[in-house]
Amino acid sequence: MSRIVVHGLEKSYGDARVLERVNVTAEAGEFLSLVGASGCGKSTFLRILLGQEQQSSGVVIVGDGPIVPEPTPQRGIVFQRYSVFPHLTAMQNLLLVEDFRSGGPFGRVFGARRRNARQQAEAMLARVGLAHARDLYPASLSGGMQQRLAIAQTLLGRPQILLLDEPFGALDPGIRVEMHELLTELWTEHGMTVVLVTHDIGEAFKLGTRVLVFDKVRHDPQFPSAYGATITYDLKLDRKTRASSQHLAKVAAMVGTTRPDTAMATTAS
């Protein structure tokens, strides 16, 4: 529901440059999959979009103006770990969204608004298949259930942009396929812009409308951290390219980690 424009983005930690010359424009409603080797800066890029970190130089525009340099309700996030609040039950985790949004100085809504929030939360719990777990604490939910809860919680915040940082990285393959279906359905329903960081190339091709590969193009053998990664490959996916093993193999070779055949299997699942 909101476009993202990144121009000439650069990020360094001291002498070490992580990202350089990153240029990308994403239209509202696009689903971007970011892939790349470990430590290539794709998660850093996501944290900049989140507002948790700031770019060293360059312009980031989200929606109508420059990005607010701190996390705001405009951008929702699902992390791989610590994705939900461990001190609240599933239900309370979802109620917290309304509590934070319009709870005032107590951080809690009361009366009719609470009943309303509770109804919405119930509906959302049922939507992600967690109705039976409403009174359980996250510690007694499985990894997949926790991530479903995290996605539900983030969506209740009605973000214009949904950021996902390897949200399914710690899940079993079977559960992962379920999560893919859920995510695709929710994205179709809500139509927000999604940015997904993953190291599963099959997942990137299966879910995204566009795959961006992060890699270093310049190397200094004396000082490996002199140059950062940038977007080396930008592939728009339609029905034909999505199924094409040729593109997939090419991206897999760029990232250099995943075997193309397993990635193909994930895409087909």
Partner: protein
């Protein structure tokens, strides 16, 4: 060895052994000394101790008409809880502020770190001079003695909160204050109660030290008073009584933590 499971009864038996051992050793030594000299005061028999304890608990003092044990216990616990209470409030407010707000951390953390290493007992004379010999000085000693460590511990724990959770709370619309209420405070609660449990040990130490020096009633005062008469028959039951009070307080705090933060004790909650 490391894979052997201990049953409930076995654990009870093994845990009880050291107590039993100390008790038997004491009874044996006491009986031997009393056999040689029936008026020996150093290792009184359990009967002597019990009657001395019962006297203090039920027979009004000849001079003041007070039941000494209860007056002492009330005075001491009041000081202890007042001191630890003040320290807990300080730990909660300062600890969260230091841990959560970078500006407050830059402002106060170095100071708290330095205050932490001042030996509190070295401050005792200063407190007595500045605040007089009354309750204020004793409560202040306890509070000053345990608060800095608690503040640091809570601040550290707040800083250890996963940044993911803080970022997520912000994306859901939390501001600094509502995040303190709904995220930091509940997450820190179990640690705060553990902190209080750990602080109670030093708190008893400071209490007894302060009472030994300037007081007219209190458990520590009584022990140091009757020491002049070698009244081991009073001192030993008093030490046992203090131990009992400490154990009960600790147990209550564990129960409180389970009641307030069931999520932090998943095994018991199931």
């Amino acid at each position: 060895m490391i894979n052997a499971k201990v049953s409930r009864g076995g654990a009870l038996f093994l845990g009880g052994l050291p107590f039993l051992f100390v008790a038997i050793a004491y009874l044996f030594a006491s009986a031997q000394r009393l056999a040689v000299n029936p008026s020996d005061k150093l290792l009184p028999s359990p009967v002597q101790m019990w009657s001395a304890f019962l006297d203090l608990a039920t027979v009004p003092d000849k001079r003041s008409g007070d039941l000494i044990l209860w007056v002492d216990t009330y005075a001491s616990l009041l000081r202890l809880f007042a001191g630890v209470g003040v320290a807990t409030v300080a730990a909660l407010s300062l600890g969260i502020a230091i841990g959560f707000i970078p500006r407050v951390r830059a402002f106060l953390l170095p100071f708290v770190t330095v205050v932490c290493v001042i030996p509190p007992l070295a401050l005792l004379p200063i407190l007595f001079i500045a605040l007089g010999l009354g309750e204020t000085a004793k409560i202040t000693l306890i509070a000053v003695g345990v608060a800095p460590v608690m503040v640091r511990d809570i601040a550290n724990r707040v800083m250890e909160l996963p940044p993911e959770l803080v970022a997520k709370a912000q994306t859901l619309g939390g501001n600094s204050w509502t995040m303190v209420l709904r995220l930091v405070l509940p997450q820190i609660m179990p640690r705060l109660l553990t902190c209080v449990r750990l602080a109670l040990g030093p708190a008893w130490l400071f209490l007894i030290a302060a009472e030994a020096i300037a007081s007219t009633e209190g458990l520590g005062y009584r022990i140091f008073l009757v020491r002049r008469y070698l009244s081991m028959d009073v001192i030993l039951p008093y030490v046992a009584w203090i131990t009992l009070l400490a154990v009960i307080t600790d147990w209550l705090l564990v129960r409180l933590s389970r009641a307030i933060s069931p999520w932090a004790h998943p095994v018991e909650a199931r």
